[in-house]
Symmetry: D2
Subunit: 357 residues, 4 copies
């Protein structure tokens, strides 16, 4: 029950700080004889990697992942897979000013309250750098799930600007620096975020994750619900403040008739749902429809605009956070959201197989 682990059978344990020598994770429970190499993992890390546009932190990390165990002659052996990425572009001096100060909205204060000590360099363990290992683990989860299950995510809102869902085009998602599925909205965001970035501010965002090709029957009652696990997984992402499945918070405004996903037998005998308000999960178990989840990401708390705060000595201060920060951390949360979904699904695939054969 390590608090740095997640999953039941597909079990990931991460370690490492933003400015330590390396970060890494152990992925345990992986089925044997799956072809796996660094080349299966690196593309996902490259999507999340910082410094790829002016809209993400300028920290330069190549994020080259190494497999240190659990793979033999190109195949998984069923034993724990250790992944490691060396940190190369730490600039801890950037953080000297805030070693004894608490950034509002940041974990500085609470880590200090809990532990009485904190690695202040780049946020230490609370840094979003940890999410690189989620992405790496997610790549392994995808290999377990196989090619029939597709997991994709996109940014659907930045600040007050929502996409136009009628314009949704998955091909656009990787064609702009925001993972935006709507080319027109991407332009709006580009202009807006440039202003925000230059003014030393930041913006929040919403990520939508969709899993297609799902079989019915994965998940479980009552506390092991598939949606409860997705909620935990997405809320555990840095800066997440809300999680929705299907209609999400908006389900509150519907009537029973509106919300019912009616069913019909297709001409080929298949079972068809006429809508997907449920987001693919009923009673904690997958229905076979696409799983649709969303999570909100708050605006980066490290901003250049001065904010009132206090320091460890108990003095009032004004704080400006220098360093190399993302003006919208929601952008890089997109591949992280995909990865967490993949991990939850791989876990439930094995849980289902364990109990139901």
């Amino acid at each position: 029950m390590s608090v740095n682990s997640f999953g039941r059978l597909f079990r990931v344990t991460t370690w490492g700080e933003s400015h330590g020598p390396a970060i890494g994770c152990t992925v345990d429970g992986v089925p044997p004889r799956i072809a796996l190499s660094e080349a299966d993992i690196q593309p996902y890390l490259d999507k999340r990697r910082p410094g790829q546009s002016k809209f993400t932190t300028q920290r330069q990390e190549t994020d080259q992942v190494k497999i240190l165990s659990g793979v033999f002659e190109g195949q998984t052996t069923g034993t724990p897979i250790q992944l490691m990425i060396e940190n190369t572009d730490q600039r801890s001096k950037d953080y000297g000013d805030i070693a004894r100060e608490f950034r509002p909205g940041h974990a500085d204060y609470t880590y200090n309250a809990k532990y009485g000590i904190r690695d202040h360099r780049g946020g230490g363990r609370s840094s979003a750098r940890e999410t690189a290992m989620r992405v790496a683990a997610g790549a392994i989860a995808r290999k377990i799930l196989g090619p029939d299950i597709s997991i994709r995510a996109a940014l659907i809102q930045m600040g007050p600007h929502k996409i136009d869902r009628d314009n949704w085009n998955w091909d656009h998602v990787n064609a702009n620096p925001f993972f935006c599925p709507d080319a027109e909205t991407a332009d709006i965001w580009s202009e807006e975020l440039d202003k925000i970035r230059k003014s030393g501010s930041s913006l929040g965002a919403i990520v939508e994750v969709i899993a297609e090709g799902m079989p019915a029957g994965w998940g479980a009652p009552v506390y092991g619900k598939l949606d409860a696990d997705i909620a935990s997984a997405l809320m555990s992402i840095n800066a997440a403040k809300g999680v929705e499945i299907g209609e999400g918070m908006g389900a509150s405004a519907l009537t029973g008739e509106e919300n019912a996903d009616e069913m019909r037998i297709g001409e080929d005998g298949s079972i068809n749902f006429l809508s997907n308000h449920a987001g693919g999960i009923l009673g904690g178990i997958s229905s076979g429809q696409p799983i649709v989840a969303r999570f909100s990401v708050k605006p980066t708390s490290s901003i250049l605009t001065p904010r009132r705060s206090i320091n460890e000595a108990g003095e009032n201060i004004d704080i400006i956070t220098k360093g190399r920060h993302d003006p919208c951390v929601g952008i890089r949360a997109v591949p992280v959201g995909e990865a967490m979904m993949a991990c939850v699904l791989a876990d439930h695939m094995m849980l289902h197989r364990a109990q139901c054969g």
Copy 2:
């Protein structure tokens, strides 16, 4: 890693079906020498109990809880506490019609897809009747947390009708059948829900749960985050589709300046936050501010309005769900939300004590 258990150190395992002989739970990990009797638990069950107004199911259950173990001479002994409630007003015949049919939006279909068998009587294990045991466990969690931590919830939206937060009055919450903190809105809901009920429809809702008196420092990085555990706990409640902490999904629309909860040292040397956008949690750890969480509850899927569906034989049908259903299950979710928050906090209190003394 039972899927019918939750919590790490404060560990609750529930069992039982809606129309079986009884429901119950084991609460393990409770500290010794806490005064406990049925009288500490029953008031919370009475709040959740069905049949108390025309706005909840007319099933009559006294929901009398019995303590079968773990308490000796009025005190907890540190050994597992077994709680049991006998079911008394099952009317399984009400469900005969749907034994082989799948209600849209209900777990009927997914349980069948997973297990190839289901106890159709009253929804079996997927029934919200299970939540009675959450409420009972929550009462024990409150005893562990002690009187300084207050956990209260209210219904803040029903269908499209939100409360006016300026009218919030905790005294109103128990003065109307909706746990509504705003007397004016309660009247609107009353009228609206009466119509819905008579028309055989149902409405969704949003519940807000607030924990006050929190110390700073409970919670943990990275996957054991306090907010990740709350998200899992609230999303595991029947019919929940979204979970928010603090600003929730709305955090996406804010700038970094707006979202920052600035801090100041008070005249008495205490640490004061000037706002609470974070909902009391930063980096997965409590800040000492009130914890504010919300969850949406979809409209009851068992409605009288005919809906298109299929049956186990793979035939298209129209389905009308008779039986005694809540026109708005969100109402009775209010004490359940409080209970889940209490359970998560009791668990983290012990986790924190374990690691940090």
Copy 3:
């Protein structure tokens, strides 16, 4: 991670005290659509039931088990199975004398040291009465394992008297009150234990548990080793002080040549081991040979012979334990050992299926 639970996927949580109203357990993770009724469980409980000969406690408990959940129309549903046995023959007054005294070799003192409170009636939670639920859970585990895996146990030593293994006959095991596979030794034990019983003393014993029909490949490295789980399961039985797999402690006295279980291909192409020093487990994983485990059971600590002790007031006392005690608790540990083996194997069967398909 409840300390009153065991198993990973086949997960059992027990509750109840010796002299409370009832004892029970939740069995979670059971595959669906297994035929199950009380009649599948009761015979195993009857084997463990007290009061069946003059060699076990004279407490009269019918130990009638009830299934309260998880079974519908005679089949498991995949949801938690609750089993309960009502206590009927508590005589708590027998224990009035020792309410404030500590029996040497008993858990009285340590429960008090840990919790500052204890249910002294019949040993409360530390009573071997809890093992009835292990036996009940074991009966369900057997149903999961199916008829091809046979799990049997026998008493192979009582006090200093070992059986003659050349006389081993499984048919004898249920033909004497000791579960002794050697008719001659049973007679010796009968005479010996009668003396011990009359003198108010007690004897230790050794139980051997054998699982046949095992496939190769169940178990796991490194901490989830099949033998590590068996060791934990058997050592958790009341009064157990040692656990052995295969050669056990005696493996220390062998050379590598002696200990090697040589292998040969049989005429039918099957793989044959020429010996079974390993007790069916290599590297924590089953080899397909019979699993052979043993555990020692210390003599009952509740004896009539006066012993020096202390009481809660910190005074020196002499203590005599009245009540109805087993002169050799090892006897009734035989069905308990079988049950624990069954539970561990059912758990590993599902774990193996989860990872390796």
Copy 4:
């Protein structure tokens, strides 16, 4: 519930193969603000390190441990501690012969049966090399337990030769290559093992682990018993076949009077036990007496003497295992046994604090 992890709150996850680039572990749950550096860990690794006498494998590994996370400015931060040791003296070609053959008594066959693949180089994941990380984790556990709790182990039997317990002298333990507490027996073993080594054979052994300075009250009913956890921890050590607490298997031969650890109040009001047959644990909870545990280690299965076996092609073969093997793996199991005890106790210290404050 990773099978490569152990502990509940003090949680260790290991990874790595004998001939991979490195081995390592994550230690999670460590309390904050404990002084820790590599120098606290290295001495224990040096005790276990191979190649230090002619009686252990001649593989030369410096086993230099690196701390990669969780420590900041010389103190633990409460976040996961990653330890890594690079492998430097792999000679995988030594194992080419056995890539497709199964050594009797070794995990070769069972890993293959389970996973359908195995890293045969040096035994891969099943190699005792993994125990280096147990020793490293144990060093951290000792820091948590503090100086008042002493955990020491010794080899008390090798092959048929037991020590004379009257000669027990802890000072001797580190003065001979066997961790033998009896100088005379050490000489006997030296002569014997030299013969065994030269003949290409191997010997079994027994390790005794003693924890002194224990408080009463650590541990838990019923499945989280301190002795059950010790049994699992020790049985998980490579080549272990039996585990004993206190009188162990010999408890079977005692009467209740003999086995009772009588108690008396000391002149200073302290509680004194007049014997320690229980090995310091009653009802799964520590009594405050020294905890005494033993485990047997089977003779190394990799021997030069030819044995009958089979290969992956299903052919009968004769097998001789070259390579650099320990003639008695029990020797290097001594520091491993200490480490496992330390880990279990640190875990239970925190578990106790969590529940009982």
